[in-house]
């Protein structure tokens, strides 16, 4: 294993008496597409700006490519940033924007021109090289900004909410384009986003941030299937969180038996050790992992359909259990004309495998 391209050690950044980034340590390997995911004000941009050199940490160290970045100007760092507002120079053409960083490296005119052309080909903007930024659509501007940031072939590309200014449809296409460019360049990408779906699609690893701290750093799958806290479970995707008490170990290894107000006796998987009996925990089940049956004799628990939302690809049901607790269940609509199997106020039975549910201690 080679040394990480980025090493953060106990990085702290305060503004006045407000701590924006709170004692962060992290290693990012070369070639990762790393996402910083968090709500507004969680410190994502501040961390990114410290990597770019626009802010300096109050304490802690930032190493990029094995070198301590303390006192190193943004211009001298082996990173480039793609700004949230794109920050394209309005008085320069697309080609001049993309070539700006190359000209600063003192390359010959012809060399700049070839590299600009190469970058524009990468982002499929060859035809627009002579336009000014105000003559471009939002998606085109986004690609100019990306090409400009990539032109200097940085070791690490920092992207602050690169897709947030695009509409939903374009955003989804652009996500895949971004991944293609990532594959083509082999550069390490660090992407800030507050869109968890975007992070899941893009990232090799995601750091979930809250109030200046990392809550969990993991692969998208791990974050989704094995969230460590209720915050992460709730932040990533949809989930049912039910209060429960541990009554003992479950029937097989890694399971715990719980008593849950909403459902009664249940079993669920533990990530790690089974908590001691009597421990207060949360039962977490993803809506799509719950089976729904109109056969009232089926195994599971009783519930009634309170509400349902047809979303095209799937339908979300809001159920009420016998004890009155609310529960979300989603079912894919795999058939086109099949009768809607479940309607308002229908009594149903719900069930889930113990392995599909997770015990959360915090």
């Amino acid at each position: 294993m080679t040394a990480p391209i980025i090493r953060l050690r106990n990085v702290v950044k305060t503004f006045g008496d407000f701590t924006a980034v709170d004692d962060l340590s992290l290693d990012i390997d070369a070639g990762e597409l790393f996402c910083l995911l968090g709500g507004s004000g969680s410190g994502k941009s501040t961390l990114l700006r410290m990597l770019a050199g626009f802010e300096s940490p109050d304490s802690g160290t930032i190493e990029i490519d094995g070198k301590d970045m303390r006192g190193v100007d943004p211009a001298d760092r082996p990173v480039n940033m793609m700004f949230q507002s794109y920050a394209l120079f309005p008085h320069m053409t697309v080609a001049e924007n993309v070539g700006y960083g190359l000209r600063r490296m003192g390359l010959a005119k012809a060399e700049v021109a070839t590299q600009v052309a190469e970058m524009l080909r990468l982002v499929k903007l060859e035809a627009l090289a002579q336009r000014k930024p105000h003559q471009l659509s939002g998606g085109q501007r986004q690609r100019v900004a990306l090409a400009r940031a990539l032109a200097r072939k940085p070791k690490v590309l920092l992207l602050d909410e690169p897709l947030s200014a695009l509409d939903k449809k374009l955003r989804e296409d652009t996500q895949f384009e971004l991944m293609n460019i990532f594959d083509a360049t082999g550069t390490t990408f660090i992407v800030v986003t507050h869109d968890q779906e975007e992070a899941m699609v893009l990232a090799t690893r995601i750091a979930v941030m809250d109030a200046g701290k990392f809550v969990q750093v993991d692969t998208p799958r791990q974050l989704y299937e094995f969230p460590k806290t209720r915050f992460v479970a709730d932040f990533i995707g949809n989930i049912n969180l039910l209060e429960a008490t541990v009554t003992g170990p479950g029937r097989s290894e890694g399971l715990a038996a719980l008593h849950c107000e909403a459902l009664g006796a249940v079993e669920a998987a533990c990530d790690g050790e089974v908590p001691p009996a009597g421990a207060h925990v949360w039962l977490a089940v993803r809506p799509e992992k719950i089976a729904l049956s109109t056969d009232t004799a089926a195994p599971g628990y009783d519930a009634v359909v309170d509400d349902l939302g047809y979303r095209g690809g799937d339908t979300q049901y809001r159920l009420r259990t016998a004890s009155g607790a609310a529960l979300k269940v989603t079912k894919p609509n795999t058939e086109r004309q099949g009768q809607r199997p479940v309607d308002w106020d229908t009594p149903v039975r719900i069930a889930f495998a113990p392995e599909a549910a997770l015990v959360l201690r915090q």
């Binding site: 770019a52 050199g53 626009f54 100007d73 943004p74 211009a75 001298d76 480039n80 940033m81 700004f83 507002s85 920050a87 394209l88 120079f89 309005p90 008085h91 700006y100 960083g101 600063r104 490296m105 400009r148 940031a149 200097r152």
Partner: protein
């Protein structure tokens, strides 16, 4: 392109007109718009174009004793106006060196003073735009404050500083730096200094307003792409503040060319500016037609280059 063509006719985006806008709204909207555009037009017509026409007519006449002290350019001949004026006054301007020298001297002084103004004002505006928001208003206030006192008063204050026995000369001699007073009044130096001092706010304000609007992330982007602070200034800040530079330079240059109080009080008497010549023709010589011709010629010589400049820059965009 492909999906634009495939879009069915009469889709929602084809409906341009807002349904809730009635005929009356549209009419009163058009009226309102005409009023808004029309008011400055009317203003310019009454207070610029009409006086300009009168001055132009006067410039075609000849001086006379009497009231008014010139012969009219038109005579009424049986209810029909007949042109009796001439362009002699304009020809006269080209024959006497005085006018050319004064005109070129004025342009030279105005250009120099405008450039000095820009050099002094740019750093000021830059600093103000970069200051804390609370501080900015105080600093702007300080720039504008001198404008609230009469400009004549400020000129006399400067005279008090620059005179032979004035504050600066007494201080220099008192400190033993010079033995004899330095001649500062009645020099071009005094004229430049006073113009810069008087017109500085007109340069600072437009510069400030463009610099203040400058997006800070553009400067960060330049730094991120490897530019040092000088390169950032030269390639980003300066080009983006050009509109402010142009506006400030026009605001200073145009009144400075026609300035007559400052050269009259501070400048050497043997090199008058065009404003002083005009003033002299009008008052001392009581030659209204020549004075009018000077005014019109000055305007034409100032306006035509600017119109050409504007057209070329419009072509470029």
């Amino acid at each position: 392109m492909a999906h634009a063509a495939a879009r069915p006719k009469g889709s929602v985006s084809d409906v341009r007109e807002h349904p809730s806008m009635t005929m009356r709204d549209r009419i009163s909207g058009a009226l309102g718009r005409r009023l808004v555009i029309g008011t400055p037009f009317l203003w310019l017509l009454i207070f610029f174009l009409v006086p300009f026409g009168i001055v132009f007519l006067v410039s075609l006449g000849a001086p006379e004793f009497g009231v008014p002290p010139y012969s009219p350019a038109f005579e009424w001949d049986g209810g029909v106006p007949r042109f009796v004026g001439s362009f002699d006054n304009y020809i006269f301007l080209t024959e006497d060196d005085l006018y050319w020298i004064a005109y070129l001297g004025s342009v030279k002084i105005a250009l120099g003073a405008t450039l000095l103004c820009l050099l002094v004002a740019y750093p000021m505006a830059y600093m103000i735009a970069r200051a804390e928001p609370g501080m900015r208003n105080i600093l702007l206030m300080l720039v504008i404050l001198p404008f609230w006192t009469s400009s004549l008063l400020r000129i006399y204050a400067l005279m008090g500083m620059l005179r032979q026995g004035g504050f600066i000369n007494s201080a220099l001699m008192g400190l033993g730096i010079t033995d004899a007073p330095i001649q500062m009044m009645q020099t071009d130096f005094a004229v430049y200094l006073t113009i810069v001092f008087t017109y500085l706010p007109l340069m600072v304000l437009p510069l400030y307003s463009t610099l203040e609007k400058l997006d800070g992330s553009l400067l960060e982007a330049a730094a991120d792409l490897g530019a040092n602070s000088f390169q950032t200034f030269w390639t980003v800040t300066l080009p983006l503040s050009l509109p402010g530079i142009l506006a400030g330079c026009l605001l200073v240059f145009i009144p400075a060319v026609g300035e007559f109080v400052i050269p009259d009080l501070m400048g050497a008497q043997d090199s008058p500016m065009i404003g002083n010549v005009l003033w002299g023709e009008f008052t001392r010589n009581r030659d209204w037609p020549v004075a009018s011709a000077v005014a019109i010629a000055m305007l034409a010589l100032l306006v035509i280059p600017f119109m050409l400049l504007r057209n070329t820059s419009a072509l470029r965009d």
